[in-house]
Symmetry: C2
Subunit: 186 residues, 2 copies
């Protein structure tokens, strides 16, 4: 990756409602994912690279619902002037939004994904990004997911779900890096 | 589900090249997935429900590549006259195809997914189907996946990858049923 390639940082669903761990499965991995995302965000801003915020307004009602405090972005990644925000109602940031057209218009072909959750919105967005032809990166320690119930009723540990989601995405849809490797590469 | 709701059966990437287990990871779960898919296909044909075949022509070269024997559908699910075939070059059956427009034109809003692989094309198609608003069903014993390498180089067992993929899809994107439950419901 070269800075000249203008990789866009997509901060996905880093909203206050995600702190409702009980609602989302009782336990989450990577408790410092938001701090890592904020660290990457600082780098992007310092180097005037494109930053894009994605906000989830999904229905049915959830801790992220529109017009509730949980819908707000976490303080640590609050957008600043000039940073576009795309609001979505489903998991993929490409469905029901103008994100793809916006990126094409800007000539952006390389995406770096951070945020929540690996199992839902990160995976859905990464799969579409990869299939659309974007050179897609997911930052393993700046993403996180919750414990997840299987069809047999068994609870799968967040860390295992996260790891297996990334395993199914690597090579096929995205390159997986941690924050340190990403920043070394830039 | 009611037969009157015209659920469409999507048979995804059930192509001969998928028999190259060595290429795809060395081991697969649900060895009878194709038989289950064929059983469901028989039911769909007997009840004149819509059947749609999806074929993967992906690049780079793989055991499924176009103009190779592996590109052909397996004999057990060979299309018959009148059954549409959508050819795709990426994982999601909705990207680079007219599938969404076709379904909308036909008034089909309910999809039943079977085929290969749970980790790649089934998950990608199911996530988009769910996010597009289709009432989406994945048949757990008529889908299968291969052992998958993690970012740490560890090989995750196909059955575990399959189970966790379905866990991440259930409730959020799709309803997971086995063949017997599906046929009981129709």
């Amino acid at each position: 990756m070269k800075i000249g390639d203008q990789p866009a940082l997509l901060l996905i669903d880093i909203q206050k409602g995600m702190n409702n761990t009980e609602y989302y499965g009782g336990h989450r991995n990577n408790p410092k994912a938001e701090e890592q995302a904020a660290k990457i965000l600082s780098y992007w801003r310092a180097h005037q690279l494109p930053v894009i915020h994605i906000k989830h307004n999904g229905t049915p009602p959830s801790p992220l619902s529109k017009d509730t405090p949980g819908n707000d972005f976490m303080e640590i990644v609050q957008p600043i002037k000039g940073e576009p925000i795309f609001e979505k109602e489903v998991n993929s940031a490409f469905i029901g939004t103008d994100l793809d057209a916006f990126l094409k218009k800007k000539g952006i072909m390389r995406l770096v994904l951070v945020g929540l959750t690996t199992a839902h919105c990160i995976s859905s967005t990464a799969r579409m990004a990869g299939n659309f032809g974007y050179d897609t990166y997911i930052i393993s320690d700046a993403t996180a997911t919750f414990n997840t119930l299987g069809i047999d009723g068994q609870a799968y540990e967040a860390a295992l779900v996260h790891t297996i989601c990334l395993a199914t995405l690597r090579n096929e849809f995205a390159t997986i890096l941690d924050t340190e490797s990403l920043l070394d590469l830039l």
